[in-house]
């Protein structure tokens, strides 16, 4: 492999060997993927959302496939932060990629206690606060749909750790920039978006929801155009870095997010479709840069040229 192209990106105090991470809830605790590839090839990955206590998640009927996407209502099943530290973190030691702990609390205090537990762990590089999970009653969108609560929780976590704090935003709002600005003001190092869009599927024979939770979160290629637009909008509105997520399946998709203003991207649902998507995106970015004569991928970030008055293009 020839490494002439500089794929590295730096933001929020961290350097990533490439801008490709994998998304929370789609990459397990990382180790599961080591049988498919060396996860050191990734810029990093986000853990499954970690709570203070283990969570059992929702009853069966948790996923349903939709056109170019899927609904999920996992309900944040996770081993809890203690078991994560004890069982999941040590095996990651040999791998040279950033581990971003995606964390979720039912209250600001819980967020802080989780951070306090993780702070002594050197293998954790950053926190991603999940204030946007559509599938639980408490602690999810409750924070993410109220800019004041968003500010409060981010501000409190910011005060509790010197590690980079990322905040994962919900797309299910009229104006996402309000929330991005609240994060910026509260001192977040980055915002990551998007989490899933609330959706629903119905069993037309039984006339019941397909998901036991009633509704679920839509992810996958179907949402990509919506996510690209939100990333663009947020990148215009704030000056902290943005991490782009939503329906990325290949390098071309990742490029859309980078050009729209994302400093890095996360691959989610595509990890289920093809567990090698992460490294495939990395290689595809390298190929693109090489073909287009772009020496460093970071030059692409936010490079979108808006269409000026009177301009138009035939496709």
């Amino acid at each position: 492999m020839d490494h002439d192209i500089d794929l590295s990106v730096e933001f929020g105090g961290l350097r990533f060997k490439n801008p490709v991470l994998t998304a929370s809830g789609t990459f397990g605790y990382g180790i599961e993927f080591t049988r498919f590839f060396d996860i050191s090839e990734l810029g990093g990955f986000c853990t499954k959302g970690l709570s203070l206590e283990p969570m059992a998640g929702n009853a069966p009927g948790r996923i349903f496939e939709t056109p170019a996407g899927m609904l999920n209502a996992i309900g944040l099943e996770n081993v809890g932060v203690d078991a994560f530290i004890r069982d999941k973190l040590p095996p990651l030691e040999p791998y040279d990629c950033h581990v971003v702990a995606n964390i979720l609390g039912k209250s600001t205090e819980e967020f802080i206690r989780i951070v306090e537990k993780l702070d002594p762990q050197p293998k954790v590089s950053a926190y991603e606060l999940n204030i946007s999970c559509p599938n639980i009653k408490q602690g999810g969108m409750q924070f993410g749909h109220d800019p004041k609560l968003t500010f409060q929780v981010v501000d409190a976590v910011r005060g509790a750790t010197s590690r980079p704090v990322w905040v994962k935003l919900s797309p299910n709002v009229t104006d996402i920039t309000v929330f991005a600005r609240a994060c910026e003001e509260a001192g977040a190092d980055a915002v990551t978006l998007v989490n899933t869009f609330v959706g629903m599927a119905i069993d037309v024979y039984r006339r019941r929801p397909m998901l036991s939770n009633g509704t679920g979160g839509l992810s996958g290629p179907a949402i990509r155009p919506l996510a690209v637009r939100l990333v663009y909008q947020v990148a215009q509105a704030v000056s902290i870095p943005v991490v782009g997520i939503g329906g990325i399946s290949c390098a071309r998709d990742a490029l859309e997010f980078l050009i729209a203003g994302a400093s890095a991207v996360q691959v989610g649902t595509a990890n289920f479709v093809d567990p090698l998507t992460g490294p495939k995106v990395v290689e595809g970015l390298r190929d693109h840069c090489r073909e287009q004569g772009i020496p460093a991928v970071r030059e692409l970030i936010g490079s979108l040229k808006p269409i000026a008055e009177g301009e138009f293009v035939y496709y």
Binding site: G57, P60, F64, E65, M70, E77, P221
Partner: protein, 271 residues
């Protein structure tokens, strides 16, 4: 330790149609053929669809047989139910299958040592039963297949079992093949014939059938393993989508299962 799982493109060697929208695919997949255990499955999709396959997610399919002595091939017995299985049915020799596998825990064969092993099968559950029957037969255990369908056409995939030279009882609701009646009627007879402590059950098929089988076996204290079918997104334990309810806790069908102990499994609750 993580179990061995590979991701590969398997060339399609044959696609043999059966009645009732069932077909049997033979593909080249030595890594899977050589390591697969009874009850394990693969996640499969039509290969070469670009970055966004349609449907998006792979489909879970039992490894039906390993037909060649060298163990370079596997077969999949598939029923067309929706778009995913329909697309798989269009595969022809020269095409390829994207595979991830072998997956899941498979059956625990130790339970049935020196017992009469009854394998109760319906529908495409037959696909999970063959390697099990073969392994038990090879180990010299006593094993019988009870295979039921609505009519003769439903009894796909019988041929390889016949070569195992094990007793096979087939039932059809309309009497077009084997005994007339339900496979659970045939099972009831067996349960009356032998003492419970001599028996060990395996069942794969529609949930309703497996539930009836479980409800017959469990009260008698007969060990019974069921192999469940449930929607899966990843197949290897990371999406947490394939949860089933067992006594005590949720479990993932793809990593803890798809085989569960009937006495622990909680069937669906719906008003």
């Amino acid at each position: 330790m993580l179990s061995l799982v590979v991701r590969l493109q398997a060339p399609v060697l044959e696609n043999r149609p059966s009645p009732r929208h069932v077909f049997v695919l033979t593909v080249q997949a030595p890594q899977i053929a050589q390591s697969v255990r009874p009850g394990q499955f693969v996640m499969a999709a039509v290969a070469g669809q670009g970055d966004i396959p349609s449907p998006l997610l792979k489909r879970a399919l039992a490894v039906f047989t390993v037909p060649d002595r060298e163990a370079t091939r596997i077969t999949l017995l598939i029923k067309i139910l929706g778009e995913g299985t329909r697309r798989l049915s269009t595969l022809r020799p020269g095409d390829a299958l994207d595979l991830v596998g072998p997956l899941g825990e498979g059956f625990d064969l130790d339970r049935g040592r020196s017992r009469i092993n009854l394998i109760v099968v319906g529908g495409t559950g037959v696909a999970s039963a063959y390697l099990l029957a073969r392994e038990l037969a090879r180990a010299g255990e006593e094993v019988r297949l009870l295979y039921g369908g609505r009519s003769a056409d439903d009894l796909a995939g019988l041929a390889p079992f016949e070569q195992l030279e094990i007793p096979i009882i087939t039932t059809t609701e309309d009497g077009t093949a084997g005994r007339a009646g339900l496979v659970t009627d045939a099972l009831r007879e067996c349960l009356e014939q032998y003492p419970a402590r001599h028996l060990n059950l395996y069942t794969c098929g529609p949930n309703r059938m497996m539930q009836v089988v479980s409800e017959m076996a469990v009260p008698l204290g007969i060990p019974c393993q069921i192999s469940v079918e449930i929607k899966m997104a990843c197949g290897f334990g990371v999406c947490l989508g394939c949860t089933v309810k067992t006594t005590g806790s949720y479990r993932l069908a793809c990593t803890h299962g798809p085989v569960f102990d009937a006495s622990e499994f909680i069937w669906e609750q719906s008003g």
